[in-house]
Symmetry: C2
Subunit: 215 residues, 2 copies
Amino acid sequence: MTGQVRTVDGRVAGRRGQATRQKLLDCLREMLDTSPYRDVKVIDVARMAGTSPATFYQYFQDVESAILEIANDMAKDGQRLKALTEDQGWTGKGGYAAAEALVDGFLEFWQEYEPILRVVDLASAEGDKRFYKVRQSILTAVTTGLTEAIEEVQAKGKTGEEVAANAMAGTLVAMLAAVSGHQKGFETWKIKMKDVRPALSTLVFMGITGKKPPR
Amino acid sequence: MTGQVRTVDGRVAGRRGQATRQKLLDCLREMLDTSPYRDVKVIDVARMAGTSPATFYQYFQDVESAILEIANDMAKDGQRLKALTEDQGWTGKGGYAAAEALVDGFLEFWQEYEPILRVVDLASAEGDKRFYKVRQSILTAVTTGLTEAIEEVQAKGKTGEEVAANAMAGTLVAMLAAVSGHQKGFETWKIKMKDVRPALSTLVFMGITGKKPPR
DNA sequence: ATCCGATCTGACTGATCGTCAGATTTCTGC
DNA sequence: GCAGAAATCTGACGATCAGTCAGATCGGAT
């Protein structure tokens, strides 16, 4: 399904072509690490890769298509976050540990892919369906996992009327994504990430179980 | 202090100039409502305002400076969110009602200024200090208000070791901002905003008080 | 009606986008 | 190893937009 690498006009790329294409992707990624998204020019990426803009357009429709490619790889890697919601007890001390693991997973993942996620966030916020889909593929997995966890806890507790499980799960995931994406912002504030981690873990635990975490 | 409106080269703008300037700002804002930020061209804004690009540059350094102007107005309006954190009981039913009011305040504010906030988010995420400052001026007020509320609750409860108040407040504010900014995203999911509101309120309440909200 | 400062704009330079035809490199069969 | 074919690359081009500047136009004061 992933199939062959193709040029814009549909030809299957050979050995040399694939190498060039990959080099362009690498340079684009490096560029995104250092410059604001809107300042990334095809001409600069091409220059950095030691080739010409025309070559770039041979392999990518436009800059966004290229970023999308990088984002898709990221999304594939992101599926591991889903595992952090599954087969967990979610009650008692073990539950809190699971919450911490989920929080750490998010923080690390966002730190690793920060520049890409920034573009994905923006583009999907502005209505680009391709990027929206990437974002969803990462977050949906976690959200559904958490939804199931919450439903399970609610079924056992049967406290009567509860918050909708999927809304709570979606909210927690949005929170995790937001805080993870603003780690630098927190530090620029007088807030230490060392303190934010337990705050997040506590909220995740309370959101799922409705109880204060054990200490 | 707000002083007179000035042109880029320092002249004080007269009646006609101010009108033109305002028209440009209005058109820019309308443009941001409908097009992605990166697609907004000075030439289009000028055309929509029935003037020429050169005129635009008479009043604004660049597009971002103009957006910053709009963003500053928004930030001024945003100070009302701070009031929602002050002089609240934050315990019992009254506390939950206060949490609901805060949540609603955020949701409405973000809905009203969605396109501007989107740009502010992006620009500050990419390191533009001017926009970062605007973002902070809105969020800091709420965060400090919440921090005080949490410290107050913690002082009364004196349960020993607690989560750092400012970290918890910052996290809650980030959560509110994130969810408010993704209202459309939630709806595109199968999650109803009607369900998200209580989820948010519950998390805010629990984050502040450490207890499950009363029903 | 005339003048003067405030305001606007046509025209220009320079940068980038995105395309295409043709040059260059690599591969293939012999 | 070589001719021919296929793959790949690129110079050059037309189009668009940013940003600047000198000069045209406007509108109120006298």
